[in-house]
Symmetry: D2
Subunit: 492 residues, 4 copies
Amino acid sequence: MGMTGKEYIESLRKMNTRVYMFGEKIDNWVDHPIIRPSINCVAVTYDLACDPQYADLMTATSIFTGKTVNRFSHLHQDTEDLKKKVKMQRLCGQKTASCFQRCVGMDAFNAVFSTTYEVDEKYGTNYHERFKKYLQEVQEKDWTVDGAMTDPKGDRGKAPHAQPNPDIFLRIVERREDGIVVRGAKAHQTGSINSHEHLIMPTMAMGENDKDYAVSFACPSDAEGLFMIYGRQSCDTRKLEPNADVDLGNKQFGGQEALVVFDDVFIPNERVFLCGEHEFATMLVERFAGYHRQSYGGCKVGVGDVIIGAAALAAEYNGAQKASHIKDKLIEMTHLNETLYSCGIACSTEGYPTKAGNYQIDLLLANVCKQNVTRFPYEIVRLAEDIAGGLMVTMPSEADFKSDTVVGKNGETIGDICNHYFAGNAEKCTTEERMRILRFLENICLGASAVGYRTESMHGAGSPQAQRIMISRQGNIEGKKGLAKVIAGIEK
Amino acid sequence: MGMTGKEYIESLRKMNTRVYMFGEKIDNWVDHPIIRPSINCVAVTYDLACDPQYADLMTATSIFTGKTVNRFSHLHQDTEDLKKKVKMQRLCGQKTASCFQRCVGMDAFNAVFSTTYEVDEKYGTNYHERFKKYLQEVQEKDWTVDGAMTDPKGDRGKAPHAQPNPDIFLRIVERREDGIVVRGAKAHQTGSINSHEHLIMPTMAMGENDKDYAVSFACPSDAEGLFMIYGRQSCDTRKLEPNADVDLGNKQFGGQEALVVFDDVFIPNERVFLCGEHEFATMLVERFAGYHRQSYGGCKVGVGDVIIGAAALAAEYNGAQKASHIKDKLIEMTHLNETLYSCGIACSTEGYPTKAGNYQIDLLLANVCKQNVTRFPYEIVRLAEDIAGGLMVTMPSEADFKSDTVVGKNGETIGDICNHYFAGNAEKCTTEERMRILRFLENICLGASAVGYRTESMHGAGSPQAQRIMISRQGNIEGKKGLAKVIAGIEK
Amino acid sequence: MGMTGKEYIESLRKMNTRVYMFGEKIDNWVDHPIIRPSINCVAVTYDLACDPQYADLMTATSIFTGKTVNRFSHLHQDTEDLKKKVKMQRLCGQKTASCFQRCVGMDAFNAVFSTTYEVDEKYGTNYHERFKKYLQEVQEKDWTVDGAMTDPKGDRGKAPHAQPNPDIFLRIVERREDGIVVRGAKAHQTGSINSHEHLIMPTMAMGENDKDYAVSFACPSDAEGLFMIYGRQSCDTRKLEPNADVDLGNKQFGGQEALVVFDDVFIPNERVFLCGEHEFATMLVERFAGYHRQSYGGCKVGVGDVIIGAAALAAEYNGAQKASHIKDKLIEMTHLNETLYSCGIACSTEGYPTKAGNYQIDLLLANVCKQNVTRFPYEIVRLAEDIAGGLMVTMPSEADFKSDTVVGKNGETIGDICNHYFAGNAEKCTTEERMRILRFLENICLGASAVGYRTESMHGAGSPQAQRIMISRQGNIEGKKGLAKVIAGIEK
Amino acid sequence: MGMTGKEYIESLRKMNTRVYMFGEKIDNWVDHPIIRPSINCVAVTYDLACDPQYADLMTATSIFTGKTVNRFSHLHQDTEDLKKKVKMQRLCGQKTASCFQRCVGMDAFNAVFSTTYEVDEKYGTNYHERFKKYLQEVQEKDWTVDGAMTDPKGDRGKAPHAQPNPDIFLRIVERREDGIVVRGAKAHQTGSINSHEHLIMPTMAMGENDKDYAVSFACPSDAEGLFMIYGRQSCDTRKLEPNADVDLGNKQFGGQEALVVFDDVFIPNERVFLCGEHEFATMLVERFAGYHRQSYGGCKVGVGDVIIGAAALAAEYNGAQKASHIKDKLIEMTHLNETLYSCGIACSTEGYPTKAGNYQIDLLLANVCKQNVTRFPYEIVRLAEDIAGGLMVTMPSEADFKSDTVVGKNGETIGDICNHYFAGNAEKCTTEERMRILRFLENICLGASAVGYRTESMHGAGSPQAQRIMISRQGNIEGKKGLAKVIAGIEK
């Protein structure tokens, strides 16, 4: 089958990806301490797929070749596939306690696959065949692909073609015999740097005049003219501290966001999947967003599992695990987390086949799922902070706990003092273990991982209001009025 | 196939069921205005099953005979059956805006079926075969059966055998060659009077000394020694008013609760399904409660659909339908309602086969489902009251709107005055239609139907704390701690 | 000082007030079982004022005469008076567990007093002096006055003068030398029938063309041309049942709402307080609404106190009072209730003098107060229903508990059976006491008193959106932006 | 009057305070970039007191000397003083958007003042006179004093004397003629390093055997044997970045927490205010905690004001300010913030005099206040994150925006690209201004200031459960039961 995590990391080294951070070019970005945790996350999606015990969730059978492929590049063949997707994401969330970034590609594959079929049906184009070839290559090479949708957008009240800055939505600047040249950027790109490829889609409904903006295509991350500027996160530089370990909370894993810039990038025809058929932008957006709103009912639930476990440990280490209010808060966290999972599962099992044959999720329930994700993780985090206690944010640094500097009258070092006063429930933990759990919670509540668990839960796959609009459209209010009229005796 | 609604109602007339209300025996209880709406609800479960457009949801194939039977007496054969159960319940909720009562029997059938199998396996008893014969008869005669669990309970801190009042839990008072004699009562019995049969189960975990209380059996509603005392509901006597229509809000449908008393009732052996095997009481309770907590993710969602429709109509009739806050509240109601549905669907699709072969729901998710049902309907109702406006509770009676009594200087009647001042958005509704929708909302928010939509959502299938205990047990907190230890670097 | 409760009731008998209910004229409305509980509530405001232990809260010194008067007809002289108002309301709520109705008059007095002063200042009219004379008479005669604001409103999108039905807002139909003739109605009038007088105010901002609608005046409840149609409430007719007691939940007290119709009523000049000065309608509305939104931080808190007590008793009678989740729910109810009280107190202590000299509450905080009242009582009621248990809505009637009809094999009556199975914690209560508490909770959660505790909390003194608009206007968002600009380094 | 902010900072330089951070001693801690923002916050409490426009809130008249002193060292003389305290805190919160740390001293002064009075009354000690002398010196020298209560606590189930580690609660290790020697530590000490003095109090109820732990005293921050270990915060080292400005979000202000260690510190008798009178520990804790729970109804409200302003600006800069859902979210934030303020004001105006003559807040309402503070700031922050949009956490660094490194085909630098793509609503802001507001929100939501606005709101002045216990004790549940019994007809 596909690559191991290690092979994946090596494959990244071979690419000429251009990455900028803190105003400078980062040469060895693969080993950069700020970037590496996000690479490790994606590596997990490879390693788990190589592990037989997770084969059912992590792999699938290619519809092109019949070979076993990573589920992240699979086209959903039925509602079981949709459910397994959610379960795979929960698993990856549990193993990383982070955003593992690879699902945007999977969601883009399934959306582009079904949409190109319908574009071709209408226009006689051959996008669908092109895309199938591309996806077969993705599966064979076991690539990670960034599914990229969000443009910088500029003035929210204006259409793409009417923006003062014409580049503020990504667009075709030249149409050539052999392909197109594109310019613009995709913002908030999760997992863009550590992807082999980018699969670009338009970001919203478009009109007749926006034809140049109605474009979908794929290109490698190191395509000529493409570069990325890394977004900074809470506590990012803590990862640069010498021997950083405990203070990181989650040493190995993390997320990543970047601005991906297309500075006149040439895209050959065989990688172009939409090129001016503006009325299909909406379909592509709704399908991708639908899949991606489903995703949050898996990945964030997995992270939630780790948070609940950490909160339970914190209570134990603090010696408070038997208090009824602590138990009740853990139940509430579990309840909220499983409600999210229920929504992820429900929109999957209620999926339906597209014309192209792959399966789409239930759009109403997927939006309901994501809407809950914009709320419950915040409450889960609040409860975790409650259980953790104030020490989570007042604890001295790892360097203090390990310091040999003498401060006490009897020769005690800073380390001695810290260990003397911050020891927890000795039957359950060492002081360092207590620190580790509290730092993990700090990281997820207000450190680097809060970006993934909180803000991404809020805005990823569309901000809350976007889901409300979809719920309004999909909620069949007229049908419900009809039910009420009959019961109330207004209609028969 | 089975009976029509009309045939069902006629079949009730043939029974000698003993019903008491307001301190007296009710002879023609089938046509009693307070009781009839609950009978009409059950009748809907017959009529819909006869309607070809609902055949897929409302009917199933008997595993005993291969014939088509009402799904309410079906044993779930796979997760599709479990999902269809939820959808059938949503449909019935949409058609009645009430508790339609028949699902307690269905949930009891499935729980008793699988539990008796395991009792027999351990003890070599033949409860399972007995039960299969019984259920086959239920299917053939298309009976409605009250699945009865809740005893009056008395002192919550004492086991059944230790209660000062030995009858406070239903028990075996005599064991005979040909059967047993039971005494006691089942309280809060929804849909007991209009059932043909009662299927009794123990209400909680039991110990060695509670053997006489560990009993499950079936008997007809008019068994000798069995009688019922009707529980009174908010606004019950409004149904007795002459020509009551508009003021009822929901003229045709409603719920029903009663105390079912077993005054030394003889149960022949072939209808006894548990008789002293106390350690199986827990299994029976958990399985029945699990199914029933799933149910609420269907039935209350259907009622919710009608409420949302009614609130949307109320806004329209008030002329407020375009206000952004009104739209937003309707979205929120839809969001909450569909979250409940997602939980109902999720615990179904994650079901698994029992040893006996029928399917059980996912216990964790079913408890999460019900826990949400103890919250969201209250918020849905609050939002409906917000949208409806104060007129919902200050409006004069139907009799006023129709009164010919002259009150005005120019000869206006009370009816004229009411219609003059309470006219709504004339383009959308007549004044009576506006009244009808507001009375429907009154009925569901604080009238007779509030019993079913609010209090039953709270306490039916177990009070909130019961679900929290199950969530705690099923939440695998130790596994979650393990995940956190690995991420935090405490364990490998 | 003023009347006793009994004298108040007798004073009502002397009036020729015209009341219609269920399509007919009610002659002896004072003793009508549906109406009487609301009269009893107002009577409490008289009796408490006669009780020396409550003198500080219930009485005040007239600014006109220096005599002691009922605080309900007092003009607030400082922030202490404003706080005492809230405390008086909490007290009355505790004693009645109902809306005691008399505060609309008090709020109207204070709003009309200060507004007429400013109208006179601008126009040289003499409304203020007229009003002072009127209020002095109110104080002397110790009248209860209905402060009436809400018109039926018709099409929400149109101004009064532009409505198809010109009467849908109350208006001046004739201007005479000695006074005016008014036509129209005031809807949702709490405590209108049992008031001696009505003090009418316009219901919203008005423009140049709405001059005929910009009218404020007072008249007796039995003025020629004035009549009222009683609004029906949940469970209203339960009060008509013979010997009704336990089933009422709150036998003695209740609320009342009516449509008050002005069928060409003549108002002499000395009772006219606004007559066409349309630009002052807004001031009058905001001031009255402000006071009335403050009120809810007292009255509903008092009712909440009784609900919390009842829930605690229900737990005790059920034998569940030691469960940690029960204790926690009682704490939560207390917390929510005291938060409402805090808002009531805060908007009072932050009050300020008007030009006329009486005190106005802080408008922002009063709106915040009422906004919370549209939420927390619903959660308090939800928690009360949780604690009460399902018996609250499944319990047989009082008639059953007292019935001599024999039903059991050993001659047990219905009453025997009910008492046998519904006995609670015998050390704490009789069965009847348990019933009483559960019926009280039924009454407040979904019976007649739910109208006052829930729907009135939602819509009384303006629906939730009305408060949000005021919060937006009063929130000084520009000032807050300025603070943020300085901190963020955008401005110095 | 007192010092200016600048003088205060200079006064700190003169002290020999021992501070450790990252395992090392910090010599010039006054100018250390991580520590300095917290010093600047305290400096604001001096500068505002020197500004005549804030004199009414920021200053008061000494009861000892009649001179004008900073309100932070004032003894509350009436409820007006208590309200002004809350308003002063709101003001300081608005000016710093941080925890300004000085209120713990004020709260300790008032608690120790009244408690020592009652200790002396019982035991004939002279703690009260000692304390008055001390406080007079505090006022004259305009010192900032850390009121210190929380011990590390160790095993939560054991009393101080029964702990395995005897130092885990601070205690008297030696009693001498001229004073006492103390050992132990106070944890989570907000504003400890930048205080001139520490005023120590016991942390919980104590028994007969805990006499050595029942100790209250004052000492200078640089007392011999006293040292502090700085707690690390989210994003702390961002402050060390060269030229850090925009990325800090709040460049000038911040909070501070430390472990304060007493390594056998000698305290002369005149600074000892409790020494073994263990039964007064509870009074001291409840009074201090009561004041401090009141405080949060001021300080966090001020910070909330800045967050609301920043969210409104972010919406404007994003071009989304007219969307109805944005407006509604700003209203909700305002509503929640003012509810907190209402609680702060209400517990103040309902205060009462102690035996010693200063004023104590209403204990029930102060606990209700703090309980709301453990909830609403989290929701305010969630709504701010919603309004801000994802860019808040995906935006490149300040260094990128200012970088001259060329990356584009046409010579565009990283700075050019960032400014090209991240420009906001050009009519309202520059790109840098947009960054500044988003970074401010990042800082308060998940950066350094989240420690103060979120976690401190949760655990400062006692964790949520501590307030619930107090609400339970203060809620007079028996009185409420009595009210319900009367209404329900159980008692007369």
